[in-house]
């Protein structure tokens, strides 16, 4: 294989700017849009997670119909670390249910409270200790009983979460005498089949702006004009340096949030100095923001996306080999 591509495009670099348990910001440098876009698209549509996919309704006397509740159950994000070990139900031909299915139960019992009660994700009972709704605190459930402590301990071991202050995901509200009893099966899936399997709330990238100030032209502005120019941009792009009396580009970290609104360019024209600054998008620097739903850790999502992308290519290469062999055989005949 001849090294046909420029080495630069082959070896992108990455700088992580922010990493919390639900969000990551990183810069992907020295690569092309096609690579950045493939990564973004795979993150959104092809990183597997778990979500409730089958619901058996045993009893439902609530105000919402069965399918409505089933849909809402599907949309609850579930901790999906286990997804990598599981199989897609449509790929798996074996008999071992445990590799495709994770069972849940939602049984509220007959509501005895005089006031309306929220049924939340905390009321789900999981049969697999590694799979639970995000921010799961079974102690907060309507029944608030047994098994709860065990899960709290596991949740704590998983890393920082936002504690019981974050309420569970509301599924339905019950009035006195109403009841819900359902059995749910969570399965592995990908976002392109249904948005409930998307691991992210948002996955975006933006191009890094390259800002150059025409110093010669800038020097012709009065102090007030310079100040007004600095003020004109809704994102803090520029700063007026008192000491040198010059307009300088503010911290590059700030400049990254530039929305390409062109306000400062308009201002430059208004001042009668078009071409005062030049802002263009760099074509090889991408600033990613990936915000997890909580199903997977954000860094895990990115790594899984890369693995998925790589596997895609490998599968296609395998197919290509088969194709070639078949053709060779045909020629031989």
């Amino acid at each position: 294989m001849a090294p046909t591509t420029e080495p630069k495009q082959r070896s992108p670099s990455i700088v992580v700017q922010e990493l919390t348990h639900e969000k990551i910001r990183f810069a992907l440098l020295h690569t092309d849009t096609s690579v950045a876009n493939a990564l973004r698209r795979v993150i959104i549509a092809e990183v597997p997670t778990l979500a409730i996919d089958l619901v058996d309704v045993i009893e439902n006397t609530s105000c919402l119909c069965d399918e409505f509740i089933a849909h809402r159950l599907g949309l609850i994000p579930l901790l999906s670390e286990k997804a990598v070990e599981m199989e897609f139900p449509y790929d798996y031909a074996g008999d071992d249910e445990s590799v495709t299915d994770v069972h849940f139960e939602l049984n509220t019992g007959i509501c005895a409270s005089a006031e309306t009660v929220d049924v939340t994700s905390n009321d789900l009972v999981c049969y697999d200790p590694r799979v639970a709704p995000v921010n799961y605190h079974p102690g907060e459930s309507i029944k608030g009983k047994g098994g709860a402590m065990e899960f709290e301990a596991q949740a704590a071991a998983r890393g920082p979460d936002d504690g019981p202050d974050i309420p569970g995901v509301v599924i339905v509200k019950l009035r006195r005498g109403q009841q819900i009893n359902m059995r749910c099966v969570a399965r592995k899936g990908v976002g392109r089949d249904h948005a409930k399997w998307q691991p992210v709330a948002t996955a975006t990238y933006r191009f890094e702006p390259e800002i150059t100030i025409n110093e010669e032209l800038m020097a012709t502005l009065t102090e007030e004009e310079k100040m007004a120019f600095v003020e004109s941009s809704p994102t803090a792009l520029f700063r007026y340096d008192e000491a040198t009396r010059r307009v300088v580009v503010d911290a590059p970290d700030q400049a990254r949030s530039y929305g390409y609104d062109g306000e400062c360019l308009k201002k430059a024209e208004e001042l009668g100095k078009p071409g005062l600054v030049d802002i263009r998008a760099k074509e090889d620097a991408f600033h990613f923001t990936v915000e997890s739903t909580g199903a997977l850790r954000p860094e895990e999502i990115v790594v899984n996306a890369l693995k998925v992308l790589e596997r895609k290519m490998e599968v296609t290469r395998g197919e290509l080999d088969i194709l070639e062999r078949e053709q060779d055989e045909q020629v031989a005949m």
Binding site: S34, A38, V302, L306
Partner: protein
């Protein structure tokens, strides 16, 4: 039909792969033409057209493109792991200095 020009149909794929492969093919100077299209937005398939200059077969060019993307993925994976590690270390030291400077370390105007 010559071995130097081919249209590959990738089933169950979309722009994600189509565009990445097209880009890598076009990077190859032995490829005369490379393009892709999605015949219908509701059908999950892409057509990738490859025509080479005659030095390599279309299939070989395709394989090279796939290998290139695999190596990019590998590289990004390693770089990402490293960047995460680096970020963790930087944060740890920043926290230490923050404590030492009584939280005044990260002051911003």
């Amino acid at each position: 039909m010559s071995v130097y020009e081919k249209t590959f149909t990738l089933k169950d794929e979309d722009h994600t792969m189509g565009n990445a492969i097209r880009y890598m093919l076009n990077k190859n100077p032995q490829v005369a033409l490379a393009g892709y299209s999605v015949p219908h937005p509701m059908e999950r398939s892409v057509n990738v057209r490859v025509q080479t200059t005659g030095e390599v077969t279309a299939t070989a060019a395709m394989r090279d493109a796939l290998l290139d993307i695999i190596s990019v993925c590998d590289h990004v994976h390693d770089t990402f792991d490293l960047a995460i590690e680096e970020h963790g270390e930087k944060n740890a030291t920043a926290m230490e200095t923050d404590v030492a400077g009584k939280g005044g370390g990260s002051k911003k105007k």
